[in-house]
Symmetry: C2
Amino acid sequence: MLRETRKKALKEQIFVQALQLFQEKGFEQVTVQEIASACGIAKGTFFNYFTKKEEILLYLGESQLEVLNKGMEEYQDVPEPKEQLKLVLTDLLQRYTSNGELMKLSIVEVIKSAYLFENESKSIRRLQQSLASLIDRARRNGKLNSRWDTDVIVSTVLGVYLQTMMSWSLPHNQHSRIGDMFERYLDVIWEGIAQR
Amino acid sequence: MLRETRKKALKEQIFVQALQLFQEKGFEQVTVQEIASACGIAKGTFFNYFTKKEEILLYLGESQLEVLNKGMEEYQDVPEPKEQLKLVLTDLLQRYTSNGELMKLSIVEVIKSAYLFENESKSIRRLQQSLASLIDRARRNGKLNSRWDTDVIVSTVLGVYLQTMMSWSLPHNQHSRIGDMFERYLDVIWEGIAQR
DNA sequence: ATCCATAAGCGACCTTGGTCATAATTTGAC
DNA sequence: GTCAAATTATGACCAAGGTCGCTTATGGAT
């Protein structure tokens, strides 16, 4: 169906143009009219594809998650689950932070949508599921022995993941590599805070 | 100085009225004009006290943190550091979630301001410091033996704290008590994911 | 009491995100 | 090719957040 492909193409064009402009001038400084003009469409048309200006940021975030979810099996055969988690999530972190300032906004949008509205961010849900099955697999293979429920583990990991993104965003923390930060936190929750 | 006290009083009035209205009709549904009218001031005056409408939410979040920071010593003589952390942060969680839907918005604002702008959310910084000194004290008292840096521990704890707030916000997770959720996560990071 | 400098209040005004009735376009059926 | 139904594009319009130059109130100095 031609209609469908054209629709998708236009949405993609709007998305790309918008990102470009956001990169150049900053999110707030770009008006919807500008984006529309850059795509040769009317302002109203923009809202046929994205219901709010912020939805572009959400789309950005979700598409990054999508990419990760798709490429997840790439890490299937890493033997140690901890190593696996590290690789998977460092990959995602890298992706998120590579886009600079814009990604921070995007992260906030994803968080907002995922946790604020019943919007049911499918991408995050899928990430959770992927991580859960990663853990379960490790368990079955005898690579992980843990007293905790799988989904509790996943939530904990996501917690430090979130924390990593956020503390990395802090101006004065930018010196350390984000992957290293996450690894450190992962170490902590893996081994436990209290000394064995 | 009379001026100062009056300023503070008016700011407080705006804050309280705004919250009231937000509770009644929802954040988006309340206009700045409404808030101003409810206070008997002009719209422009509102912006002398809060630079954006959202700043009310930020103020709400920060003031909650403030309250906690002030009441922190209440938990000084709890013997076990883990218990101490649990009490302190459960207190905060309770505070945050007691206000219902509005708090979610407020949380997002605090996160935004803390991690997005160089705004330097002092309240969060102070919370971090309080937690850090809590950990250090436990260490000196021989109550905690850990290989990790204090600030790494603090960040990890904050990570699961964040995670708790957020997964609790999820519509389908509301059944469990938020304090219990946090406690579970705290257990995990305290003992470690991997079985000893 | 008067005057001045500074701070706070004000609301017309502008900008811009978002809506909606209408117009143009596409699709499928005949 | 023609027509009707459904889909998409459009831009005038609206609402509301935020700005700004001007007015009013305040507090201290003389």
